[in-house]
């Protein structure tokens, strides 16, 4: 089977730090983050794009890290859930998740946090309908989503408060 024995050299900025690494042709971005960089906050559920657990930000956009190859991230800026806490303290969104019981087992949480982070940066979310749309690309098998919707709306409101 053909495979580039030496792999490919990539240079990628992960959570603000430049990483130079050799990667195999078929290594996914998710496995690169988890196994090579030991950033295990990014989770893998389905590995075919459906569950959203592996969502990270690539150049600011929320994407499925299970559907991207590590070699494709050469030159990109990646943000994972590990980048959210500020000085070891949960950020506004994470606090809102905690307050509203937006997680139980926590498996889905990092993906939700990254999807919502990208959505909040785009502008106000506004109402429950929009909050549900923002959440619809991720699956949670525990919470029943009520806490998640509340957390998103609360973080949205707080963001507006600080923006004022």
């Amino acid at each position: 089977m053909p495979e580039n024995r030496d792999g490919h050299r990539i240079s990628v900025t992960v959570n603000g730090t430049v990483r130079e690494e050799m990667v195999d042709d078929r290594l996914t971005l998710a496995d690169f983050l988890r196994e090579r960089l030991r950033l295990t906050g990014t989770h893998l559920g389905c590995e075919h794009g459906v569950c959203g657990a592996c969502t990270v930000l690539v150049d600011g956009d929320a994407v499925r890290s299970c559907l991207m190859l590590a070699v494709q991230s050469d030159g990109a800026r990646i943000e994972t859930v590990e980048s959210l806490a500020e000085d070891g303290r949960l950020n506004t969104l994470q606090e809102a998740f905690k307050r509203n019981h937006a997680l139980q087992c926590g498996f889905c949480t990092s993906g939700f946090l990254m999807s919502v982070t990208a959505a909040l940066r785009e502008g106000p979310i506004g109402d429950e309908q929009r909050a549900r749309e923002v959440l619809s690309g991720n699956i949670c098998r525990c919470t029943g989503y009520t806490g998640l919707v509340k957390a998103v709306l609360e973080a949205d409101a707080e963001r507006k408060d600080t923006a004022r």
Binding site: R26, E47, L69
Partner: protein
């Protein structure tokens, strides 16, 4: 699961990509957004020797071109990019409105317009949109360039006229003339899921509100986008009133022959198609009223 072994290529020039495809043909696949191909590789539903990643190709393949009469969408234009563009929303509202029903933002951030067309899922939104818009598909290989219309491009379930050594370079549509409106209607169990059925319509109306001509295309009910010609003929020359909307719903129901699957029965899909055609044409009528108000 993880993908099987393959050799990864990231050509910078189109010629290089086409040369690789000519050399490896059947054993190679083009990688665009990866939102359909990567799941298949991860599940090992597809096993390939060579992956030709076109994401690093230059030559403006990542920017739509909007001319006075024509809109061209090259291979690397992401679905999200079109969805976010106010200019595209004005030029091609049908595409913008259908894109909101294509998966989720996280998928649309990477997924390309052309990739969805090349993938040709029968329940996908964009093939039906491009059929309604009578799009032209420009296909390149190392041996040259050819163009096809939608009817010749979509052949079957996940099958297009693309040969293994070819790339879908771009898809082009004419701007709709004044007095021609468009609408997209879909029903899915959960927002972002593939459609149980969807309908894309373009429809010309004269000042009296009579249909001068229309294209009505259904997705999710046949192996390829299906033009509902009986519906088109029935509507042409008539006003979009309640009586006609009732008739087109019945005609659409009769014209499609969907299959049953785990998501919905054939009968349900037939009825749904009727309802969606009715809603789409009603929407067209409302748009004209708003334009004349």
């Amino acid at each position: 699961m993880k993908p099987g072994r393959f050799a990864y290529h990231a050509p910078r020039e189109l010629d290089e990509a086409l040369a690789l495809l000519k050399e490896h043909g059947d054993e190679a696949k083009v990688l665009a957004g990866g939102q359909s191909l990567m799941p298949m590789l991860n599940f090992r539903l597809a096993q390939i020797e060579h992956l030709i990643d076109i994401n690093r190709l230059g030559g403006g393949l990542d920017a739509p071109r909007l001319d006075a009469g024509r809109i061209v969408i090259p291979a690397l234009v992401r679905q999200r990019q079109v969805e976010r563009s106010a200019e595209m929303a004005r030029a091609l509202p049908l595409l913008t409105s259908a894109l909101k029903d294509v998966a989720h933002p996280q998928i649309r951030n990477r997924g390309t317009i052309c990739g969805s067309l090349a993938h040709a899922d029968p329940a996908a939104e964009l093939p039906s949109v491009m059929t309604a818009l009578d799009a032209t598909f420009t296909i390149a290989s190392a041996d040259g360039v050819r163009t096809l219309g939608a009817a010749d491009f979509f052949l079957f379930h996940l099958t297009t006229a693309l040969e293994p050594e070819e790339i879908l370079l771009e898809v082009a549509v004419d701007r709709l003339p004044d007095g021609t409106y468009s609408a997209f209607q879909e029903f899915a169990t959960r927002h972002g899921d593939f459609a149980l059925a969807a309908v894309a319509v373009t429809c010309g109306l004269d000042d009296a509100g009579a249909v001068t001509g229309c294209r009505v295309v259904a997705a999710g009910v046949a192996p390829t986008p299906q033009r509902l010609t009986a519906v088109e003929e029935l509507a042409t020359g008539r006003r979009l009133d309640e009586a006609l909307l009732g008739e087109v719903a019945a005609a659409a129901r009769d014209e499609v022959d969907p299959t049953s699957d785990i998501h919905a029965s054939a009968m349900y899909r037939k009825r749904l198609t009727g309802v969606l055609v009715k809603r789409a044409l009603a929407d067209v009528g409302t748009q004209q009223e708003a334009a004349h108000a």
